[in-house]
Symmetry: C2
Subunit: 239 residues, 2 copies
């Protein structure tokens, strides 16, 4: 029997939701900051609505309706448009920037750092994320993610699931598609990676979107590896 | 008195010569490999001549005489043209590739890893190197260089000292030029970085080119920091 993961030399990770808990981190960060700054709002609802703008915004870039725009800029546009309904129209420019940069201050899921440190000993590891370069570097410093390098869709000026993003990693690293594994908590990401030849690993994050999450609760295809978390992925990948 | 380095948030490093000892590493690697493989040659001379082709090759790219060509490809072209005079015309394709990839297997100067680990606690650190992405990632794995991210001239499709390379780091990281420090063992690199506003740190590597080195033995300008090595740089930068 051929083990399909034996060829793997590098593993790249979706970050938002797969490696870091964006929703929990943002609610905690902004609640604490709001408390200290005297700025009160329903941060949970704001975060959910903010994140809800994300796919439609990227779709506008994907369809070419607007030119390449990175995530920090998309986040800022969405944030500013949401502030009035949350009673936050009075935030200063510096405060808006601080709130927008909360995406640079996300915390890892409890298993992530230990799992990545194990995987790093055997594989090249990096994010392959729609996040922009500065965001991913700052997030890694904040959350102590031990990446070997940062692969950002900003490098490729394309958002996942465009094939150029997955194949861009292969090209930059001189690796064949079957030497690169995509790890994600989102089935669509793995389907796109598989369609261009990458290996795939699914890790469920059933509370990424909060307690009522209905999507991506389980693997929707026979991905090469299905692991319970990144520690389990390390075990299953022999690291 | 204003300390000009107080603004610094990220430090980027020239790699070949500044962080890794390319000449010593290559002679040792190929001598050992040649011994094991029954391939005999004057590796020291080959390395010196190989490296001698490097600036003229990059100049052809800089002048636009040839399109963007990365370092692995430039190295391979130069290597193949040098093999006959070293009696190595019979090397197989796999052997040529193994020899060419020696640039991915360079070792750090003795002070480098400890110095970088100290600097990483306080600053974002990365290479800003003419080396291509795969080379820099593989070199970091091999030499245990704890980069936060890889800044390669391949990302910018320009070789240093083009301003786009230094300013590209600033742009990607949302940093002002005076928030980024360039560290190099080569005065020309620092002059170019300073000309676009970066901070500068010189570290002499007087045996980079072997015992007879005549260039870059000392700082040729009043760089913001002159350190004896990367441990000393960490001390001088308060890390």
């Amino acid at each position: 029997m051929v083990i399909k993961t034996e060829t793997v030399k590098a593993i790249v990770f979706d970050t938002f939701g797969t490696v870091v808990d964006w929703r929990g981190s943002i609610i905690a960060d902004l609640s604490q900051w709001g408390e200290a700054s005297g700025v009160h709002a329903d941060w949970s609802s704001l975060v959910d609505e903010w994140r809800g703008r994300y796919e439609p915004q990227k779709d506008r870039v994907r369809r070419g309706e607007i030119g390449w725009t990175n995530i920090d800029d998309l986040h800022f546009e969405a944030l500013c448009s949401l502030l009035p309904e949350y009673g936050l129209s009075n935030l200063s420019d510096a405060q808006r920037m601080h709130v927008n940069r909360v995406w640079h201050r996300l915390n890892a899921w409890p298993d992530a750092v230990a799992g990545l440190n194990r995987l790093k000993k055997r594989y090249v590891i990096g994010p392959l994320s729609n996040g922009n370069i500065a965001l991913l570097v700052n997030m890694a410093k904040h959350a102590e993610l031990p990446w070997d390098s940062i692969f950002s869709c900003e490098h490729f000026q394309r958002y996942k699931p465009h094939p150029d993003t997955y194949l861009g990693v292969c090209r930059q690293m001189y690796l064949e598609p079957n030497e690169v594994m995509m790890c994600a908590a989102h089935n669509y990401d793995l389907a796109a990676a598989r369609s261009v030849g990458l290996r795939t690993a699914f890790v469920p994050r059933p509370t990424e979107y909060g307690p009522g999450q209905t999507t991506d609760l389980e693997a929707k295809d026979d991905w090469d590896v299905v692991a319970s978390d990144l520690q389990d992925l390390a075990t299953k990948m022999g690291a």
